[in-house]
């Protein structure tokens, strides 16, 4: 039956969320002739409606539903209602992302083995290896169109990248480039080449940047097997007495509730909403939350080690011209405990406009110390430092019983304490970054505290043994045979790499598995 599908159609796969995980999975299934309903909480904002202006774009695309934030990390103080900076729109967080596509490294799937036991960390080896994922990384890169892979040339370095490269060269680094970047350097897949507009974080009016909004979803819809329902906020997942999920209840734009029946349910709401939905779907059969017999739902929340260094130079850089993050130094992405911490990190270019710079550069700051830096904006270069952070059982997403959202549901609370390893890596990385900019003539540097997290991971983690995690090697819930998790929540550990490429690779792999299981009548 071609889309749209009936609410009572219990043959469809329901995918909750339309981002890197959900959007990819939905299209892959549709291409195989499997009927899919995608329920997306946000609106459909086509690229022509995107805005090259930070706050209006933020208000257009970001997830702004009420959340609370606790823990000892700085963000709980700076942004108590904004623990994360991800999207609420059709296409999900890739609409907001920049495009960095490093793959995980081999040992990053085996950190419990490689790092050993670390107090306060709940490290666990992934149940899969790099070797198993490599074919799917290949398919993910080809699907997205990643510069530097499969014949697409690397981007030309922009001003910010050129400063980074010269500093890196003087530091003796070897591996610096514009990096694998999911933004067309030449026309690809019916989408144009970059115009170096500089607004990767604000959507992308030109469609040169990959996201499910401009790629997977329209392709899936063209098959007649995919229906995307925007402004459909899933409130709970229902199951039968045998423990199989049977459908989901969602609220439409007017707040009216509907029950969509389903043969299979795949949750891909980002690592805060996914555990929130599972916890909120508690029942007599699943008293601690759906698929939570392990008690691991919501735990092990990771957000990546994050720090930002702005260098201020004698002369203009105009770092805002060009792709937001097409510049990477990979030399620090290795594991050597002699540095004083485990795991590695990347240095990636970043720029913000004056509007975001004022809000994020140094929250709380005012007076001439602040404005003199803003006055030097034209002479800024910037890099973001992103590295592996430690999972911890107490860094977790829970339901806040004291605060409810517009649907009357408890809002998610994100609790996070920085692990000492994160702090040590951050200090080391910040020193390297500052030194790099000094090497190329910086007269001042500015160290900006972590932003609200765009890399949210680990809250329904993948594990070999059901007692260690929430889902198995395919992302299927250990406790529920026809329930899958399809986003960064499944990350057993976070590696140093930006997570999107790995989310996409896992979703393609999961789609193959689900299709095979459906064909065998095993689902």
């Amino acid at each position: 039956m071609p889309a749209p599908f009936d609410l009572t159609d219990d043959s469809v796969v329901v995918v909750i969320g339309s981002g890197a995980g959900g959007g990819t999975l939905a299209n892959q299934l549709a291409q195989k002739g499997i009927d899919v309903v995608v329920l997306e909480a946000g609106k459909r904002v086509e690229p022509e409606e995107h805005v090259d202006d930070e706050w209006p774009a933020f208000n257009q695309l970001a997830w702004l539903d009420m959340r609370t934030n606790s823990g000892t990390y700085r963000l709980a103080e700076d942004f108590p209602n904004l623990p994360a900076w991800h999207s609420k729109c059709v296409g999900g967080s890739p609409v907001h992302w920049a495009g960095c596509c490093p793959r995980f490294q081999d040992w990053e799937f085996r950190t419990r083995t490689v790092y050993g036991e670390i107090p306060g960390a709940t490290l666990l080896d992934w149940p899969i290896t790099l070797e198993e994922l490599e074919p799917y990384y290949d398919r993910a890169e080809a699907n997205m169109g990643v510069a530097g892979t499969h014949g697409m040339p690397l981007h030309q370095p922009d001003n910010n990248a050129k400063v980074l490269f010269e500093g890196a060269r003087r530091m003796g680094y070897q591996k610096y480039s514009t990096g694998h970047y999911a933004h067309n350097s030449v026309p690809y897949d019916g989408r144009p080449a970059t115009v170096q507009d500089g607004f990767c974080f604000e959507g992308n009016r030109s469609r040169a940047k990959w996201s499910p909004l401009v790629s997977d979803l329209p392709k899936g819809e063209a098959t007649g097997h995919l229906e995307v329902r925007p402004e459909s906020m899933v409130l709970r997942i229902e199951h039968d007495d045998a423990g199989r999920v049977t459908g989901v209840v969602y609220a439409d734009a007017d707040g009216a509730e509907h029950l969509q029946r389903a043969r299979v349910v795949c949750v891909a709401g980002n690592a805060i909403e996914t555990p929130r939905l599972l916890l909120g779907s508690a029942s007599n059969l699943h008293p601690d939350g759906l698929a939570n017999s392990s008690g691991q739902v919501g735990r092990n929340y990771m957000r990546h080690m994050s720090d930002t260094c702005w260098g201020v130079f004698d002369e203009p850089v105009h770092f805002y011209r060009g792709n937001t993050m097409a510049g990477i130094v990979e030399d620090e992405a290795y594991h050597d405990p002699d540095r004083g911490f485990v795991g590695g990190f990347y240095m990636e270019t970043i720029h913000l406009g004056p509007a975001f710079m004022a809000s994020f550069m140094n929250p709380h700051s005012w007076g001439r110390d602040f404005t003199e830096l803003m006055d030097a904006y034209e002479n800024f270069a910037g890099m973001w430092l992103v590295g592996e952070d430690m999972p911890s059982a107490t860094n977790r997403v829970t339901l806040n019983p004291d605060v409810t959202d517009q649907h009357g549901l408890p809002v998610p609370n994100v609790h996070f304490d920085d692990h000492k390893n994160d702090i040590d890596m951050r200090d080391y990385a910040a020193d390297r970054a500052r030194t790099l900019y000094q090497a190329v003539g910086a007269v001042k540097t500015i160290r900006t505290p972590p932003f609200p997290a765009s890399h949210n991971m680990g809250t329904a983690r993948m594990s070999e043994r059901p007692e260690d995690g929430v889902v198995d090697r395919w992302g299927r819930a250990h406790d529920v045979p026809n329930l899958f998790v399809s986003d960064g929540s499944v990350f057993t550990t976070g590696a140093a790499a930006n997570p999107t490429l790995t989310i996409v690779a896992l979703a393609i792999r999961q789609a193959d598995h689900i299709a095979e299981q459906l064909a065998q009548q095993a689902l």
Binding site: D52, W55, P56, N59, L64, D65, M66, E77, F79, P80, N81, L82, Q156, D158, N159, K162, V163, E166, T194, V195, Q196, D197, G198, F199, D314, P316, V317, H318, R321, G322, G353, P354, A355, A358, S359, N362, P363, H364, S365, W366, G367, R368, D369, M374, D375, Y377, E378, D405, Q406, V411, R434, T435, Q438, A442, K444, T445, I446, R447, T448, P449
Partner: protein
């Protein structure tokens, strides 16, 4: 520690979400009306004296000597709109301006004429108050979002409809070969990750107070 911080928080909408939209949208709308001088001619909730004192205060908090008053006036116009929509905000702003008098011993209308060091001293005493923080939040989001302040910072703004920066200098930086290596030089660092109060958080070599006359 601070009870309410600058930035995105504390702007809870009726739906229970964050309402950054208010300030950003207000800034944008004002920008699209080139004839609007800042909006202090048609105040809705604040009186002229309070609004004028707030203009002086916002400039003292975020001093950009090159920026004309109109940009600060727009921030105050946005505060006025919030005060018109929310009586608590009106009281907060009105009483807060009164505190300027308390902390300086001068009428609020005289605040802008005080030496910069005296302005900063008064504001430092107020910086933990909800009044100060509400004003700061508005300035940070609104002032730097005004399209016509961007040229003062060397920022060219929206680009896609101009063909991006591909043919407008995206890779034109040309001084790198001659850039000095300053790894052994004393280089000022501002660290935004210290929690021991605002004084410890800012470690720059920049002067604290100087006369407001230089350009």
């Amino acid at each position: 520690m601070t009870t309410q911080s600058v930035g995105l928080d504390g702007q809870v909408s009726e739906e229970g979400g964050i309402r950054v939209a208010d300030a950003a949208v207000a800034g944008q709308r004002l920008d699209t009306d080139p004839d609007r001088t800042g909006g202090l001619a048609d105040l809705r909730a604040l009186d002229q004296g309070t609004a004028r004192a707030l203009v002086s205060m916002t400039r003292a908090m975020y001093p950009h000597d090159r920026l004309p008053d109109v940009h600060y006036e727009r921030v105050v116009a946005a505060l006025d709109e919030k005060a018109a929509a929310d009586a608590r905000m009106r009281i907060l702003l009105t009483e807060g301006v009164g505190w300027l008098a308390t902390t300086t011993g001068r009428y609020p209308s005289e605040f802008g004429g005080l030496p910069e060091a005296a302005q900063v001293a008064a504001l430092t005493r107020l910086q933990e108050t909800p009044f100060f923080q509400a004003v700061a939040a508005e300035v940070v989001v609104n002032l730097y979002s005004q399209h016509d302040v961007w040229p003062y910072f060397g920022y060219e703004g929206p680009s896609t409809d101009e063909g991006g920066y591909l043919h407008r200098g995206f890779d034109d930086v040309d001084w790198l070969d001659d850039a000095p290596d300053r790894r052994d030089a004393p280089v000022a660092e501002t660290i935004g990750d210290e929690r021991d109060g605002d004084e410890a958080r800012i470690q720059t070599e920049a002067g604290q107070a100087r006369s407001g006359e230089e350009d």
